[in-house]
């Protein structure tokens, strides 16, 4: 049995209501857990970008890609291993300001992890950390060990591919050519 690996699946779709539902349904049907999911407008107007991570086999990820791409309003789905992409995750941690002022260890941990304090007001302070999942969790665990983290939020993975070709652009250009060929 092939071991499951963490795959990042990038999906581009038209901006219609309900496409996310259709994409997640492909995972739900097979009871595959989505590890993280990030959805936002892409750099191409009218096109939405989904960054999905999940653990599965290479056979399975191919099938997921095909079945996602089969949905009418999906433009493209591609999958990557970690070495094929440059990726980041963002996080915010909420800490009580009086606690932070009382305990210099907190600021030391924040600096040591390359995180930034992005908000300080009389009630709470916000620490922002961008990096890999492991780096973010390392910061969280260090601060949490002191019992000072009030809230912790992570963004889910975002990434850019390492390849030289911009495959969505290629696809859209090709389809534009075909549209005119059919006219």
């Amino acid at each position: 049995m092939e071991e499951n690996k963490l795959y990042t699946i990038l999906v581009y779709s038209e901006n219609f209501a309900g496409v996310l539902n259709q994409i997640t349904a492909v995972f739900t049907r097979r009871q595959i857990n989505i590890e993280s999911l990030n959805v936002c407008a892409s750099s191409t107007p009218g096109v939405h970008k989904y960054t999905i991570t999940c653990y599965c086999s290479s056979e399975m990820v191919k099938m997921l890609k095909m079945q996602i791409e089969k949905r009418i309003d999906v433009l493209q789905a591609r999958y990557y291993l970690d070495e094929d992409i440059f990726m980041l995750e963002s996080s915010l941690l909420k800490i009580s300001t009086p606690t932070m002022l009382e305990n210099p260890e907190i600021c030391r941990i924040v600096r040591h992890h390359g995180a930034r304090i992005v908000e300080v007001n009389p009630t709470y302070s916000a620490v922002e950390k961008t990096g890999t999942t492991e780096e973010i969790l390392s910061l969280f665990e260090a601060l949490n060990a002191l019992g000072v983290v009030r809230q912790f939020a992570r963004s889910g993975r975002i990434c850019i591919t390492r390849g030289t070709r911009e495959q969505l652009d290629d696809y859209l250009a090709q389809r534009e050519k075909e549209r005119h060929a059919e006219d």
Binding site: Q22, M66, R175
Partner: protein, 570 residues
Amino acid sequence: MAEKITGSEALMRALQYEGVKTIFGYPGGSIMPVYDALYDYTRGEKKAFDHILVRHEQGATHAAEGYARVSGQVGCAIVTSGPGATNTLTGVADAMLDSTPIVVIAGQVPISALGTDFFQEVDLVGVAQPISKWSYQIRHAEDVAWAVSRAFYIARSGRPGPVVLDFPKNAQTELVDFKPERVDFVRSYVPYPKLDADAVRAAAELINQSKKPLALVGQGVELGNAQDELQAFLEKADIPAGRTMLGLSALPSTHPLNVGMLGMHGNYAVNLKEQECDVLIAIGMRFSDRVTGSLKTYAKQAKVIHLDIDRSEINKNVKADVAVVGDCKESLPAITALLQKNDHREWRDSFKPLDEKERVKVIEPAIHPKEGPLLMGEVVNAVAEATQGDAVLVTDVGQNQLFATRYFKYPKRRSICISGGLGTMGYGMPAAIGATFGTPDRTVVCFMGDGGFQMCIEELGTIMEHQSPVKMILMNNNYLGNVRQWQDMFWNRRKSFTRMLNPCYELIAKGYGIPYSCVTERSELKDAVAKMLNTDGPYIMECAILEDDNVLPMTPPGKNVDDMLLEVKG
């Protein structure tokens, strides 16, 4: 300046523009503006459609499926919101699995009321998405022309399938400057993938080197209208071909290269030969588990060539050595052009002893029994002989379907309506109604069991009202026969809830004013079939069938495709 019309009338015009002639439907609160418009468009000078009032919304979708299957046109159903919409879902799922082009238009509560648990509100788009090719909510009248055209384009193009349009009431009553639209391009959707010349060449090379090629023909050939291209392909390289159940009429039964039906209850020789061929050429079929048996052992000795229009079918169940993605109307001639003429007589002849074994052990006893109660095989055979291959075969699901598909004959294309993938009991009667509208010049015969007959029995009302000439053959064995067969074979004969207490079907037929006869004796069968076929309009012929009639041969579920049983032991 275009005139202002309501969204409902815009729907009528858009459907007219798509060439819709027949609508299967059922009115209700949230679709009343549409039905009001339909009133004008089904009579008088505006008449554009025949509206067939079904008796249950599930029937509307199956009728639309039957219509689509035999005519090649998109079937159309209109229903109301809530229960009307959810009742269509079985038909939508059925059409999805069997690649049948239908468009279901359902009323919806006004968009201002969405999400408030309004009376008869259901999130139809949400529930239909995973089981339809496309689902969309038409939120305003101005979207009608675009959405309807897009729906029909998506339903019929590429690998066809069901589309669901959710039509909130506000959009039905809003006024709009209607201009028809023709959608024939969707940038995120490539219905006809471009052929890869390398794949075509690789496929031809494999076939040219093959000593024992075997083709598996699926419904894709009919959907692509590539029946002639298929024959040219098979004949040039002399390739024997089995058909899937949905692909039965893609290649005439009488064609010398036709080696029968594939699958769990298919023909013996072709199932065994799948495990012996050196090249397996799958054409517009999806390697359903009902065809392959255990995938672990399936055709491991063979190189597999898979032709399909749907890229996601490639390597889904069976790994392809060569995948030719595209419309088989294009891919088959492209490969044929590179094929050498060939003669595989010896290979083809090797099927014959196995065919003979099946004929003696299974077929003859099934279609020409000498004694005992009537058997389903002989009833099907009698109808097949009497209709001489002109009829369209519709079946319900279960033993009736397996016997009917085995023993019916298919000299003409587009001659079969069955629920293949979903296995929907209750499909037969409404699908047969749809088929009579889709191909009014052909005889439509519909085989049903006593279970399935009762699952959409209300459609007898539709048949009565329209005098739809459905020749219904009710093969009554007082059992849910297929499940009973499995219980007998694999579950220690524990007949858990498969025995059926049946009503008097003669009285039911009488209630609907449908001519009826009952056949209990073998000697009466031929005359009874003739009487049924010679009676104008609908007819119910009930046959009293042996209770424990078993469908054979059979590959037990999960077993290897060549572990086919020719008899039930014990």
